[in-house]
């Protein structure tokens, strides 16, 4: 018999007989009932507490803020997608400037070295945010592959304020994740970090050392 059959047989023919499965009450991980402001406040508080930077902007003016951000951070080479409106708008706004736009929508094998060694930042859209933990959720696509949020030293993520939900559980349920998972789904909560050297926090150990979230609001906040 194969290892598989042996293992399954042992598990099925359990000495102490069949087990009963207890019910699970998920109430404790949902039902927060926060208002939009509370959600935003929590999201910002938590992601900032782990070294994430939040910049508030609007749907109309975000690319202006992006240009200023790139300049402030000295970002000269930016990897980004093409089709997603976030990438398309960014490309349009940056077309004339000095920032070199690097196409992320091609096989990584073609530009691995470039991505690892000379790309300053990666720009991605996000699918939403999670207020309870200050997390972003990303489902990388052919347009915005997995590594542009990981390999360059700075990750700029664009988040629409109205896509922030209360908890991870709520996100999974509301968007029917179980019905069809992408090859890779991600929660990102801050830049890469480690505390492996005597509990001292250090950022950017393997992934980005900076995570900047551009939170887009429908209109100017009063």
């Amino acid at each position: 018999m194969s290892a598989r059959d042996n293992i399954l047989k042992r598990l099925r023919e359990r000495t102490d007989g069949p087990l009963t499965a207890p019910d699970s009450d998920f109430g404790v991980v949902t039902g927060r009932g926060w208002s939009a402001e509370e959600r935003l406040e929590r999201f910002e508080r938590w992601i900032s507490s782990v070294h994430g930077e939040v910049l508030h902007t609007t749907r109309d003016s975000w690319t202006t803020d992006l240009v200023a951000l790139l300049q402030a951070k000295g970002i000269r080479r930016l990897a980004l997608g093409r089709e997603h409106p976030v990438a398309a708008e960014a490309r349009a706004a940056l077309a004339e400037g000095e920032v070199t736009l690097i196409d992320a929508d091609r096989d990584v094998e073609e530009w691995q070295l470039e991505q690892f060694e000379t790309t300053d930042a990666g720009l991605t859209s996000t699918r939403g945010g999670i207020a309870e933990t200050g997390s972003l959720w990303l489902w990388p696509t052919p347009d915005e592959p997995r590594l542009i949020s990981l390999v360059p030293p700075i990750h700029i993520a664009v988040l629409d304020a109205d896509t922030i939900e209360d908890t991870f559980f709520d996100v999974i349920e509301a968007h029917g994740w179980a019905g069809g998972m992408p090859t890779n789904a991600l929660l990102v909560s801050g830049p890469s970090k480690t505390a492996d050297i005597e509990q001292t926090l250090a950022y950017g150990v393997h992934g980005p050392r900076e995570l900047i979230v551009l939170v887009r609001h429908a209109e100017e906040r009063p």
Binding site: S2, A3, R4, I7, L8, R10, L11, R12, R14, T15, P18, L19, T20, A21, P22, D23, S24, D25, F26, V28, V29, W46, V50, A104, D105, D107, V108, Q112, F116, T133, S135, P142, R146, L147, L150, F168, F169, E173, W177, A178, M181, T183, N184, L186, L187, V188, S189, P191, S192, T194, A195, D196, E198, Q199, T200, A202, G204, V205, H206, G207
Partner: protein
């Protein structure tokens, strides 16, 4: 720095040595104190008991349906394009991984953190086959550079302080000697980036494997896990068969418990959910993903209603952070892959009680481990159960049961039992013992190592009370 080999058989000597090492004691003490405070604070606004209850129930439900869920996981993984392999033990799992590497002509493997791979000594196995296996988690990398094993399941290099790490990096990689943690981290980043790019295969562990969707979940802060599972052309995930959960919705509560219990974090930087290799049209990610399911004694633990609770563990390490023994002797003293309370209840099953008979006694039974365990494993009860197994009083279904049973001890207890149930013999022997008290030995094995040997009183309490009463009666 001397490199030592630790074994569970030598627990007492190793613990003794660690206790005499002020460096080890202060490294652990400081780290564990900090972790305990952080854990307490991070749960302060949670209904922790309800969350633990949910966590325990999710794990119990998964175990109740374990064989079905494993089959469902396999079917859904295969449907997603993940190849699933089964291994009876670590040796078989190592062979499967080596053969997969060889079939791709792999010369170098980059590894994310995986306790199962430690358990099966994967690195040594691959190296013997001429395949280099490099750890990419910073703590694991440092420990590997130092030719050691991890001393904690979450923080592998917790036994080392900054100066020691600086020395290791200087000696092995030529970096400057420094106390600047950012400098050392940046150096490790540069050293490993190249290795990620050039690795032929990435090997990772799994925190939760979701049967419903065929998804492998990985929890991490550094991004090395994402690199390992994305950059090399082949990704091999390896996990114990107990890591499966039924539904995707089971994941958020366990993830919430895991990060908070382990390091007092609300959430980790990355939560990576992998449901297949790179698809047509996608531009990165491995072209092949494999999942190796390892038994290694787990299905044996599964047979027994009581021992089964051990399999609920989500490897958060909270039990070791709170254990008064672990915090004093450190992880290496245990001489096993999993140290601390969880190691003391898990390792006897994996290695047998002959090897590990002292581990269940490495506890004051203060109950802290059971109190903090996010999935409510009754660790103290299991420690007692294994102590009983070791002296031949349990069900005898743990490997090496009865190894600590000695004829002398059995005879002594039998005699005691007989005396205690025969009043006149009991009284007679007490009087006799009182008379012979001068002969009481002054050395009673380990008992008198730090204590003075007890001496019997001339007269028993019973006799004293009796005569006292008589005197009292005479007075009235």
């Amino acid at each position: 720095m001397t490199v030592e080999t630790y074994t569970p058989r030598a627990f007492h000597r190793q613990a003794h040595d660690a206790l005499g090492n002020p460096q080890i004691r202060s490294n652990f003490r400081r780290a564990m104190d900090g972790l305990m405070t952080k854990r307490r604070d991070v749960f302060s606004d949670w209904d922790l008991e309800t969350l633990r209850e949910l966590g325990a129930n999710i794990r119990l439900r998964a175990l109740a349906r374990l064989p079905d869920l494993l089959e469902q996981l396999e079917a859904n993984c295969e449907a997603n394009g993940i190849r699933v392999h089964w291994a009876e033990d670590g040796e078989e799992a190592c062979r499967i991984i080596r053969e997969l590497c060889e079939s791709h002509g792999a010369k170098s493997v980059i590894k994310g953190k995986s306790m199962v791979s430690e358990e099966m000594h994967l690195n040594a196995h691959l190296e013997a086959a001429g395949i280099e296996a490099l750890e990419s988690d910073l703590g694991e990398y440092l420990v590997q550079l130092n030719e050691q094993t991890p001393s904690h399941i979450i923080m592998p290099a917790i036994h080392l302080n900054t100066d020691e790490i600086s020395d290791i990096m200087h000696d092995k990689t030529g970096t400057d000697r420094t106390r600047d943690v950012d400098y050392m981290t940046a150096a490790a980043r540069a050293q490993l980036r190249e290795r990620f790019m050039n690795a032929d295969v990435g090997v990772s562990g799994v925190n939760f494997a979701v049967a419903e969707t065929g998804t492998l979940c990985l929890v991490e802060n550094e991004g090395n896990g994402r690199m390992t599972t994305t950059v090399p052309p082949v990704h091999i995930a390896v996990t114990g068969i107990e890591k499966v959960v039924e539904h995707l919705r089971d994941v958020p509560p366990l993830y919430a418990l895991l990060t908070r219990s382990a390091t007092g974090q609300h959430v980790t930087t990355y939560f990576n959910m992998i449901s297949g290799p790179r698809k047509a049209g996608e531009h990165d990610g491995p072209r092949e993903v494999h999942l190796v399911l390892v038994d290694s004694g787990r299905s044996r633990i599964y047979q027994d209603d009581e021992l089964l609770d051990t399999l609920r563990c989500i490897r958060c390490g909270a039990c070791m952070n709170h254990c008064p023994v672990y915090t004093r002797v450190g992880g290496h003293s245990y001489g096993t892959t999993y140290p601390g309370p969880i190691g003391s209840i898990l390792m006897p099953h994996m290695l047998g009680l002959e090897e590990t008979k002292d581990l269940p006694t490495a506890s004051s039974l203060c109950g802290a481990c059971g109190e903090v365990c996010p999935v409510k494993i009754p660790i103290p009860d299991l420690l007692v159960r294994l102590r009983r197994e070791a002296v031949g009083e349990g069900r005898g279904n743990v490997h090496g049961a009865g190894v600590k049973r000695t004829k002398k001890e059995v005879a002594a207890w039998k005699t005691w039992q007989w005396l205690a149930t025969h009043p006149s013999a009991w009284r007679g022997s007490l009087t006799m013992a009182g008379k012979l008290r001068a002969l009481t030995p002054s050395k009673l094995g380990p008992w008198t190592q730090y204590r003075t040997a007890p001496k019997l009183a001339k007269r028993s309490l019973h006799a004293l009370v009796k005569s006292h009463r008589r005197e009292g009666e005479g007075e009235s």
